[in-house]
Every structure is written in structure tokens, then in C-alpha cells.
Symmetry: C3
Amino acid sequence: MTDRDFLGIEDWSWVEIERLLALATRVKRGEVEGGLERRIMAMVFLDPSLRTRTSFESAMYLHGGLAVTIEPGAGSWSWELDPDAVMDGTNVENIVEAARVLGRYADVVGIRAFPRGDDWAVAREDRLIRTFAEHCEKPVVNLESARQHPCQALGDTLTIKEKFPEPSGRRFVVSWAYHPKPLPTAVPVSAALAAARLGMDVVIARPDGYEFDPDDTALLRKTIREAGGVLHTTDDMDEACTGADAVYAKSWGSLRDFGRPEAELQRRKDLRDWRLTEERVALTRGGKGLVMHCLPVRRNVEIDADVLDGPNSVVIDQAENRLHVQRALLLTLTGHPAAGDLS
Amino acid sequence: MTDRDFLGIEDWSWVEIERLLALATRVKRGEVEGGLERRIMAMVFLDPSLRTRTSFESAMYLHGGLAVTIEPGAGSWSWELDPDAVMDGTNVENIVEAARVLGRYADVVGIRAFPRGDDWAVAREDRLIRTFAEHCEKPVVNLESARQHPCQALGDTLTIKEKFPEPSGRRFVVSWAYHPKPLPTAVPVSAALAAARLGMDVVIARPDGYEFDPDDTALLRKTIREAGGVLHTTDDMDEACTGADAVYAKSWGSLRDFGRPEAELQRRKDLRDWRLTEERVALTRGGKGLVMHCLPVRRNVEIDADVLDGPNSVVIDQAENRLHVQRALLLTLTGHPAAGDLS
Amino acid sequence: MTDRDFLGIEDWSWVEIERLLALATRVKRGEVEGGLERRIMAMVFLDPSLRTRTSFESAMYLHGGLAVTIEPGAGSWSWELDPDAVMDGTNVENIVEAARVLGRYADVVGIRAFPRGDDWAVAREDRLIRTFAEHCEKPVVNLESARQHPCQALGDTLTIKEKFPEPSGRRFVVSWAYHPKPLPTAVPVSAALAAARLGMDVVIARPDGYEFDPDDTALLRKTIREAGGVLHTTDDMDEACTGADAVYAKSWGSLRDFGRPEAELQRRKDLRDWRLTEERVALTRGGKGLVMHCLPVRRNVEIDADVLDGPNSVVIDQAENRLHVQRALLLTLTGHPAAGDLS
């Protein structure tokens, strides 16, 4: 057993990630059986999930383990997220005790917590998941926090590598898309970091006002530089798609209006054209650029139905690969011999 | 693995059903172990469940498999049920992507979706479950749709055969009963079809205005004719019960008032006498007619407590048999050698 | 298989409890594997849970079994708790049928139901869990009812024995603590009974008006007398803590105001000083008295954060021990050879 957490894709070295992806490929081929017998993963969902929950429950099971799902406030006690609170309000269980207790029952603990509150300066600290990890004695896996969705990044990386065995130098576009609600930046940041680590040239396309958090941009810049790629930013979706090898079309909210959805909606009201259409797919390299999305996707709003259902779309492969990378992640975290040692 | 769905009891030939029932009997006796190792069933519940969920989770487990339960809108994303929708409203995940993704994680996918909306002409198309099955690459099992509940029909068939090894020619009554709310017709239609296939004479007892959908009646008539039975319809519950070998007392809503519960309530306000009482049980053949219900049952409203708790009641056996027929169904769908080939 | 229920700690003889605890110790050391293959536990939660649900799911799994969780009213049908009701209201499933059906699917059935209604004379009868057990043909485990939480009592007993191999004659304090809401008396009563059975001297510290139900006090008195301990009651938390070997600081509601939370709040409005502080911990025997709580705990309201996080606290051990005693309980109820026979 390791005591390493998996909170951000940058927490693990590229050697470790590559080893994990190699294991994922073997796992997907059916070459690795068992390894999680008598192992338990506890998953805490403070926000909804389809793929994450189903794929982790399946991942544990396929190797002999068990995943237990906890939903605070729905069947389980509502959580107080501040360890120092005087708990005389409505929240019943403090995150400190929850983290400690689940660390006793489980071998690995996952937690999903989207950003909360109306102050990005606070939300960006990702204090909830960091507090949880601090108090949990077992490895903690980020199932999507305010800042990152590293399991999605792993699945995206495997998907890209399957389609492009030599991804280095290829053009990977993360493009903002319209959506009726402001969403977290965790997925687009994680996708960009994944592509960056693969040595791809990364294009961020977004309207003015939709910049990532400066620290995320700095991390992205550093990651790209180290891997030998180039970062390009544009506010023109057509330009971004032109010659792209992959377009990850995904909405996120403006951090300038964080916590003020009405103002944010005002900002985006004329941006419905930021939608991945067949015309834009035709602009990609040879018209064959991959169409990517983490799901759930707003059909005909983020991406047109024709595109989602068309030959360029790999969104279902991305979802499937969540399963395989997570099987590899769980085997690695629990010290399976088929996985390499974590440094 | 087969790619056959199980959406309606008539989708499978009588030979296939009989083979499945024979396997269910062996399974119930404990003669078939394993067979679902490394198999996953994903279950989607758009409506509540006790028996269906518990029995499928148990069924998968008892043969080495795993059932994962998803509740859209409660812990999982809310679903848009129209594949062509411009998804700029509140629903987050389209049924198309959900079906495709779950088909990647699971070997079998079940889905429950009661009728929705206020237009029977639309609801009767059962488009939700058909759309799901169309986009899911794995076998889809109907866990109760607008029109049918075929797993219940299998459980009912096994229960009848256990009590009547020669059911042919016996009198099987599906009787409307009072209930404070209009319910779907899926269960009474499925129960009537199950009895019809066994060659039983089927009596439908219901007040005026509570006719089944004409297509269901036509299918029932055809099924009865092919199996050699007789169909009789009455608006007199006493007459129906007289000489009955089994009475399936179950409420359903008038399709004439579909989607207008207030009007429906008005229609049924004087029909509280449609209740299975000890007096009516005494009218059955030798006073020994089986009392059947799919559960949950409204005690003292659909069926009197004395009757439910009395010697004629087989409602708990019906519920138990859900487990065994579903074990056989899952083994069949996944190609277990103990199951016959599906044509 | 036994048909013994586990509804209250006093239902089992001390010989049986000691045998169970010995098995729990072996289980915790990893000396007992398997034993629950092809066994199913159904758990019904009418109230929230973190530890109970997670630890029972883990317990079944660790020995090869499966736990299925049902939440009436959330994903499963809402329950009518009166077997004699004329069910023409909103509740869909009667507890009688639910108990019978779950008894068919499962080998053991657990149920959690906190006190309901506004009349203690009714709630104290614990009719819900007793009705359920009466109609369920399999062993029923109390996952916390209006009157007791016997699984918590087992976990507490194991924790005390681990810390005090000779608990007899030691001073065990159950102290009321402030809380923003009136809670059930099930846990403090169960904890006191657990300590009593260990032969400890039991001190109940509570403000005037917070007496236990007279029957619980009588049972406690009888249990203490039989085990050779002494019962002491006080309304002074400092006095109670002085020289204590363990302080179980836990809030409960005044039964005099049962069902009237506003009046109860009025009663406790000046009682915020009933809080386990470092000063009070310093009063315990050598300053080393154990700090106990069943969790979830209101940090800085029932017990100060410094105390919970400090060296005296065994609250996380208590939670972990829930797992091990329940593994032993399940092995015992299903007749595992490593468990002794139940009388």
C-alpha cells in the first residue's frame, strides 16, 4: 500500500503516469486479473455522477474489490466542511471525522466536490478536498474538485494515445462552448494538462473573460514547456479548429463572475455560436480531428448531435477509458505487483 | 453473449420462455452456481423500486456478478429523454450518451421508466426505453416501462406453474381494484399476457372506462388464441372471481383520463368497492383461488389485510420468484451454457 | 442459520456477547476469512447513516457476502408503518410486505428507524422495528431504533475492552452534552448498558429534565446490579468527569418535551456549558480518561475540537470497531462455525 494521494495530474511524475497508462492498456486487454481482493474503496459524492461512480464501482469489482458510495445530505449526514466550525447549525458531520472514519473502513477513498460559495479566491484553494486528504490516513483520489478532474485527464490521455501513438507536436484544442450554466474549469484545465504532458501543442480557445485561473495557466505553461510543446491562446473558435488533431469542446464559467450566475449569463448571452458544428469539424486536419468531451454534454448546445454521433467523436471511448485507467490507478495505489512503485 | 433485449414478454418465443423458466426452477433449487463472474449489470431507475432493485442486485451477486444502480436526478445527472433536444434547459445528460456509456461499462443494462407526460398517444409509444435500447450496444432489460413489466410477468408465470403444473384451461382473473392514484397498465397487461401464454382462460374485470390500450388488448387476444385459451371481459368483480383459479387484483388508471389525475379520481370516486375481500376469495374455485399482486399493494384498499395475510395469498412467492427468474434471465442473456441459445 | 434477532443488547446473554466479542477480536486480527459466501444482508434506512451503512457493506464484503441498501422514500417506495392502515394516503408499501419480501431475498435484514411522532408513550414502544421483526422470517438487526443502538453498544464494548482489559470497577460516565437539536436516547442508553455489562461503575450526568425513560433506567439498574457495578446519577458534569476512566459525551433530547422541539430548545437554551472541554478531560483519572462518542459529533458544541483531536479521544476506534463487531455478529447470525451457538 502506498500513502500517495491522487489530487492533481501534476502530483505524479510523468514516469509514474506512463507506467499507469501502460498498466491500463494491459488491463483493458484483459491481461491483469484480480489484485483488489479484500480491498474497499469508499467514494464520497457531494455532487452528481454517472461515469465516475459506475466506472469506479466496476473497476473495484472487476479486480475482486468493493466500492461503497456515500452521498452526504442524501442518505448520509450533511457535512460541515470547516474543521474549526462551532457546529450548532444544520450540518451534522464534520469532514474531519468523516475522513478519519472512512480511512479506517477503506483502503482508498475518493471524493467529488465541485466549487462552492461565491468567492473564487476561496474556492480556488480546493480546501475541501485538501482538508479531507489531510485527515484521511489512506490514499485519496480526486473525483473532481474545484480545480481538477485528474481521473478524467487519465482517461483522456489514454484515449489520445490510442488514437495517436505519437501525439508529440500534434495540435490539441480545448475550446470553450456555450452552456446554459457556468461550470467549473476543472475538466478543461485537466484536459489541457493531459495533452501538454503528451508533448502536444495546446490551443486554448475562449471568449474574452473566460481565462483560466492564473495559477492553472502558469502550471499549463510550465508543463507544455517541459514537454516540448507550444501554448497558443485565441478567441476565435474557427481559427482554433483549423488543422486541429483533436478538439475538446467544453463549457466553463467565467471566473470573473464566479458565484454570480446571473451576471455570468449576461456575459455569455451572445456566445451561443461557440458550438462545435460539422462546419468546424471540417476545418480540422483532413476533416479527421477527434471530437472530445468528458460528458455529460449538452447536445446541440455545446456540440451538435451530428458531430456527437459522427465518426470523429471519441466521447464514448473517453468514458470507457475512465474504467481502465481507474483500474490501473487502484492497482497502483494498493501496491499491486503489476504496477510500478510510486516514487 | 447475446444482443437480444428483453423489453416485452412477447419479444421472446414461448420455447425461449419455457427454457428460461426451466432454468429458473433449477436455479431456485440451487443446482446452478456461478456464471456471472466478471459480469456487470447497470440498472437505471427513473422511478422507485424495492423488489426489482433488490432482486437484481441479489441475482447478479449470487452468480458472481455485480449490479450497479443509477438514479438520474438523485445522485446522478438528470436526463433529457429526447435525443434531438437543444439541451439548453435543466436536464444535463442525454439518454443517448447515457445508453452508450452504460453499454461500455456493463454487460446487461436494465431500465425502469413509468409513463410520463399527459398524452397517452405519446406515452404508449414507450419511446424512452426504446430509445435507450436502440443506443445501447448491450442487452437491455425492461424493469417496467409505460407498457410492460416483463420481469414481473416471468415471476408470475413461475409462481403460477409452481401452483398449477397444468395451468391450461384454468381461470385466471385480472381484476381492477381501487387505489388513491392512477397507476400504469404495465403490470396487469403483463400478467394477463403471462397467463395467456400458459394457455389459461383469462378474465379481465374492470369498471367501464378502464379498458387496456387497444394494441395491448389485440396482443392479448392473439396470445390467448394461439395458446388455446379464452378471453372474457366483465365489469362485475364478483362474477369474475366466481370459480377463479387465480385472482390478480391490481389497480390501474383509466387511459381516457391519462395525465389528468383529478379527472381520473372523479371517475373512480364511487369504485372503492373494487377491493379483493374474503367474501370474493370465497367465490373462487373451492375457495382456494390464488390471490396475486405484484406489490407494493395498498392494504385494505386494493386487497384486504386478511386476504393478503391469508392462505390463498401468493404475493410473497411472486416477489421471491422475481429473484429466480431474473437469475435465469441474466444467465441466458450472458450466454451461460446452462441456458439454451436464443433464436 | 439462527432465527435470533438482535434488537437490544439485553436480548443476548452475556455469554453470547462475550463469545461475539472474542470472535470480533479474531476477525480484527485477520484470523477469520470468508463465511458469508452467497449470503445477503438487506439494510433498510429510514434515517441517514455513514458508519452503519459503510461498515455493514464492508463487513459483508470482507467475508464474501453482499449488503443491499434500501432507502424508503428515496429511490424506494415510501412505507406505511401501520399494518392495519387503510392505505389510501401517500404511503405506497406496507412494512408487513416489505419485511416479508426482504426476508425472502436476504439472509439477514437490518433496519434503522429513529423515533417518530410527537408522543413518547407511542414512540417508546419501538413498534416499527418490532413489527418489522415480527413479519420478517430472517434475523433482524437493529441499526438504531427509538430505544437502542445495540451495534454501537457492541463497538463501544470492544473499544473499552481493548483499552481496559479489566474494566470491572472502573468509572464510566455517560454525560449529556449540548446540541442544537433534541436527539434520541438510543445511544446513551446503549452505551450505559454496554458499560454496565462490563461490570463498570456507571455515572449518568445530565441536567434536570433529561432523565432516561423509566424502563431504560430500570434495565440499566438491573444490569449494573447483576454485573456488580454501581449506578450514580448527577447533574454536575465536572463532578461526573472527576476520576472518570471514560467519558461518553453525547446529547439527547428531554423526553418531557418529546415531539416539541421548540419547547425542548427553550429547556436547553442555558445549557451550552455542557460541553466536553480540555478542562473537564483534565479532571479524569490521571487526565487520561477516554473520550468517547458514537459520531457524528458536533465539534465545539458537544465536544471541543482539541479534545476530539487529542490523545484521549477513541471516537475513531469506536467507529472502526463497529466494522469488526458487525463482522462477528453476521458470522454468528449465519451460523459460522467460528461463532458459538446461540442459546
